[in-house]
């Protein structure tokens, strides 16, 4: 058994990866992805990647060994679909606490495995290592081995603590776990010359089922899908397949290549996104199977199915083409999805103003160039601020991306479509392509956009009125300040009878009043609650004798 760091190093040497082949030894040692930048990184960790790759196995219990964050914050968050078992959607974690950190978590892990087997009896248990137990030295390989032997169930260690690298590395580490502990451990009940493996297909939103009917019709059997709607027994006996298709770009290239090396299963890299890609992939599957001994009539039958499906799909898409004329799309997604979706969108008549190639390999980029022309606008790394600006300035009519960047588009009142793992619709194969076009149409022509983009009618009016009102108020205030008489008259002293300061002062001055009682007699002031205030006024006013003229009149 090799150590984790040795496994990772081995993966960096992966000969199946074209990118690797062009690297110097030193470069290769550093690994496939750019060093993560603190404060500027986005994306999941290796554990996340491993879980993504394996969780779609539906009859397996997925046990996360770590503190609550790793499973508690993330479980049941993916839209893979199952045709049967539901145990894969159950969240299992050792929820390590302080005591476990101090004394080690191995015992708790063993007990947890035992509990799961007693209560749920799954076909197998996959145990995921995370950062904290890796740091304190919990040996999950040893625990899993002991548990397998004692409890008589496959217990598979998946050694991919988050801090060893990004999601993509985790995908590959998951693959290593399958290669080391699962694949080839069981035999299928029977085999046919039409058995294939799909590698790196996760059946998100059930999209595998958009293609499976075609394979069924051709008599092609998916011996094992790694891992969408997969079963433990299927992957354990997947080494008997005749051919394999690697669906999700390079994520699990190590599985495909090593299965070729160990069991002689030839593979090709293909995609079911887009009409052309679907046809190419079906052709390639048929070709490989025939090469491995299937009757050659399979190729003719495949061509017939392709011709029928293509005609159907084109006919369905045809009516959207005039609607999409002149519409521009911006595509922000990773890896394989860029070129396969580029092809699909072009088929529907959309113009692509840009596509991200952040996670794409050199090969992926070549394919994009092939599709979009030499001047393809490939975006290496675009900040959300730049995307927002681009959309705000209407350089694109719709953005297609993963869920995390959706708000950049939506907040710019720009149509957006989810093409990543959290999406609700399935877009695979011929029917999926038609569905994608339908969804784009629905998004582009929703009458809501026009309402949201309209300027707010009352905002201008309000602004004008507000400035006018403010000016008026300012003028009034200035007037008041300039004229002491107005101020005097405006200030109420007795609230009950509404007598103002001016009236009181005049009365006091003209009659030479000195007491509240006298003020009451000469004015309307009530002298109840305002008694104190009148006293204050009397105190501040000089006691003056009444003007002579008035005295005379009295």
């Amino acid at each position: 058994m090799s150590s984790l760091s040795a496994t990772i190093q081995e993966m960096f040497n992966e000969p199946g990866c074209a990118k690797n082949a062009n690297k110097s030894d030193a470069e290769r040692k550093k690994g496939c992805t750019k060093q993560l930048q603190p404060g500027g990184a986005a994306g999941g960790c290796a554990f996340d990647g491993a879980k993504i790759a394996l969780q779609p196995f539906t009859d397996v219990a997925h046990l996360v060994h770590g503190p609550i964050a790793c499973e508690g914050n993330s479980w049941d968050n993916r839209g893979a679909a199952s045709s049967g078992a539901s145990i894969w959607r159950t969240g299992f974690t050792t929820d390590m606490n302080e005591t476990d950190i101090v004394f080690g978590g191995e015992k708790r892990l063993y007990k947890a495995i035992k509990e799961i087997i007693n209560k749920y009896n799954p076909s197998a248990i996959f145990v995921y290592q995370t950062c904290v137990p890796a740091m304190i030295g919990d040996d999950i390989n040893a625990v899993c081995k002991a548990a397998s032997q004692k409890l008589g169930k496959p217990v598979i260690p998946v050694n991919s603590p988050g801090f060893v690298g990004p999601k993509n590395l985790g995908n590959k580490l998951a693959g290593e776990a399958l290669l080391e502990h699962v694949i080839g451990t069981q035999e299928p009940n029977y085999t046919t010359p039409y058995d294939i493996n799909l590698i790196g297909e996760y059946n998100l939103s059930g999209e595998l089922w958009q293609v499976k009917p075609l394979l069924d019709e051709l008599g092609i059997r998916i011996l094992s899908c790694i891992s969408g709607d997969g079963k433990y027994r299927e992957v354990a006996s997947s080494h008997r397949a005749r051919a394999a298709m690697m669906v999700c770009s390079k994520a699990m290239i190590n599985v495909a290549r090593k299965m070729e090396e160990r069991y002689g299963i030839p593979f090709f890299e293909g995609s079911f996104y887009g009409i052309q890609d679907s046809s190419d992939s079906l052709r390639e599957i048929a070709r490989l199977l025939v090469e491995r001994g299937a009757p050659s009539e399979l190729i003719e039958r495949t061509e017939a199915v392709i011709a029928r499906e293509e005609a159907r799909a084109w006919a369905a898409i045809e009516r959207y083409k005039p609607r999409f004329a002149g519409k521009r799309a911006l595509l922000i997604t990773g890896g394989v999805k860029s070129w396969s979706v580029v092809a699909a969108l072009q088929e529907a008549g959309l113009e692509l103003v840009g596509t991200s190639v952040k996670k794409s390999t050199k090969e992926d980029k070549e394919r994009i160039k092939e599709l979009m022309g030499q001047d393809a606008h490939m975006i290496e790394d675009m900040t959300p601020r730049e995307i927002y600006k681009m959309l705000k300035e209407a350089k694109a009519d719709i953005m297609l991306s993963g869920g995390k960047s959706q708000f950049v588009a939506l907040k710019a009142a720009m149509p957006w479509l989810d093409i990543n793992q959290e999406r609700c619709h399935a877009y695979m194969g011929y029917v999926g392509m038609v569905k994608l076009v339908e969804e784009i149409d629905r998004a582009l022509f929703n009458p809501m956009w026009e309402q949201l983009r309209r300027p707010v009618p009352w905002e201008e009016v309000a602004k004008n009125r507000q400035t006018k009102g403010m000016a008026q108020m300012d003028a009034q205030a200035a007037e008041v300040a300039a004229d002491p008489e107005t101020t005097r008259r405006a200030k109420k002293v007795c609230f009950c009878k509404e007598v103002d300061l001016g009236t009181l002062e005049d009365a006091i001055r003209s009659h030479g009043l000195t007491s509240v009682e006298a003020v009451r007699q000469h004015t309307n002031a009530f002298g109840g609650c305002c008694k104190r205030r009148i006293e204050d006024i009397l105190a501040t006013m000089p006691v003056s004798s009444p003007p002579a003229m008035l005295q005379a009149a009295e």
């Binding site: 770590g66 790793c70 508690g72 606490n97 950049v408």
Partner: protein, 468 residues
């Protein structure tokens, strides 16, 4: 009343609990121009981020120090330094809030020390607001992380008022627990303003995660309470803390600035709101506006209409302590029986929940209890959806996360009006369940015994069935 127990199992199944650091990060999201930063590997941030995005359907700022295996062994100083500099230069935030995680707590990073050193090394950061909270994943839960973080914010950001400085009699601090939604905060703001009070919410998620569309794209939070306003909270006349989790922050506020506080453990229900409104009337010196007399009447009427449906229901509820206490008490007061109660972390309110036993456990425990005790109403966050489907009982989503329905940020439960809405929604679920699943049939009341001979039938033979 209730005994708090912890099950002895080794494996948590279908966790109810979420981790402490993201609770802390959540609190930072209520500050304006903030960038919360988790000191851990990038997955810690990524999982939290996805969870918040799915709940709010909003862009959420959350960064990571991206600890690698090597950095973890050597210590995370450089990662913290780089992360702060990168965020400071690129996102131009007004504040960076840092929470530790399991990884960096296990290797014992001294982040407070790091921050001191970073301030010395980079003079531009000497006065820049940086708040660090220790929140290991392997201890406590989401609500604890929130409570600790708000307490830390108070300690670091609130300025002690000068001796003899005057307090603003209208200004009131509000320290809301993490179980309140942006919609709840807006409701409270309206209520306080109706009494002529000027509230400062810390944190103020209603400014940042209420779904408003900002004019400019910003990588930090798009609203919330500003650091300057937080600094001035020491001059308020009162602090209102909502939820027992906020006691710590309220006490920190009192210690720092002498502002007295009143803790409201609940704001859902008739009696708690009567107390709340009376308190506001008291501190503001104003009579209760007619609007609230009407709202109180509406709530009373809602209770009258709903008690037929809610009364006698056997409730299974799983939530963090403050939300559990709030909702279960309200329903208990409406005649429901709190039959199964599961929570995430210890709290002084738990033993006052109107039930025999409160379990610190997971959703497997809740589902099991609900099944064996024949519960007919389930309340928990969205992760309870699988259990609800298996139990086939009405399911009311409450708490965080709520990712499989929209409008989570505006679900209202505080005030007379919020309580009224909650009561209506729950009662309607019960009514819909009855209509869909419990229609009477000719055999609903038939006993399994052989029919009696004609002439000897009596009403006593029909066992009492339930159409409810």
């Amino acid at each position: 009343m209730a005994i708090v127990t912890t099950p002895k199992k080794a494996c948590a199944v279908n966790p109810l609990k979420m981790s402490q650091p993201i609770g802390g990060a959540f609190a930072f999201m209520g500050l304006r121009g903030a960038m919360p930063l988790l000191h851990g590997s990038q997955g810690c941030t990524s999982f939290g981020l996805t969870l918040f995005v799915r709940h709010f359907k909003e862009a959420v700022p959350l960064q990571t120090t991206a600890m690698s295996e090597v950095a973890t062994v050597l210590g995370g100083y450089e990662n913290v330094e780089q992360a702060i500099l990168n965020i400071y230069n690129r996102a131009k935030p007004e504040i960076i809030g840092i929470c530790s995680t399991g990884v960096t707590e296990t290797n014992g990073d001294d982040v407070d020390g790091y921050i001191k050193l970073i301030r010395e090394q980079h003079p531009q950061l000497a006065k820049f607001p940086l708040v660090f909270v220790s929140t290991p994943d392997f201890k406590d839960a989401f609500q604890d992380g929130w409570g600790k973080t708000v307490a830390c914010m108070v300690e670091v950001l609130v300025e002690a008022p000068a001796v003899g400085a005057e307090r603003d009699p209208a200004r009131v601090n509000v320290l809301p627990g993490c179980h309140l939604t942006p919609g709840d905060l807006d409701e409270l703001r309206t209520i306080l303003e109706d009494f002529g009070l000027k509230p400062s919410f810390l944190p103020d998620l209603a400014g940042s995660l209420d779904g408003h569309i900002p004019d400019e794209f910003t990588p930090t939070t798009i609203g919330g309470i500003g650091v300057d306003e937080v600094a001035g909270m020491g001059r308020s006349s009162w602090t209102i803390a909502i939820g027992a989790q906020m006691r710590r922050a309220a006490e920190a506020m009192q210690a720092k600035s002498g502002v007295p506080f009143r803790l409201f453990e609940r704001l859902c229900g008739l009696i708690p709101n009567d107390e709340f409104i009376a308190f506001l009337s008291d501190i503001s010196g104003r009579p209760v506006p007619a609007k609230y007399r009407r709202q109180r009447g509406q709530l009373s009427d809602a209770m009258l209409d709903a008690h037929f449906h809610v009364g006698g229901r056997r409730l299974a509820i799983g939530a963090e302590p403050d939300l559990l206490f709030d909702l279960s008490s309200m329903l208990h007061e409406m005649g429901a029986q709190v039959t199964a109660a599961v929570t995430t972390t210890p709290s002084p309110v738990l033993e006052r929940i109107g039930t025999k036993e409160v379990l610190i456990g997971d959703l497997e425990d809740l589902e099991e209890l609900a099944r064996t005790r024949n519960c007919d109403l389930l309340i928990t966050h969205s992760h309870g959806r699988q259990a609800a489907a298996r139990l086939k009982i009405p399911f009311y989503r409450a708490g965080f996360p709520m990712f499989d329905r929209i409008g989570a940020g505006h679900q209202l439960s505080v005030g007379y009006r919020g309580t009224r809405d909650v009561i209506f929604n729950i009662a309607n679920l019960v009514i819909a369940d009855r209509e869909e699943n419990h229609q009477p049939t000719p055999d609903s009341w038939r006993t399994s015994r052989r029919p009696l001979k004609p002439g000897r039938r009596s009403f006593i033979d029909a066992t009492e069935g339930s159409i409810a």
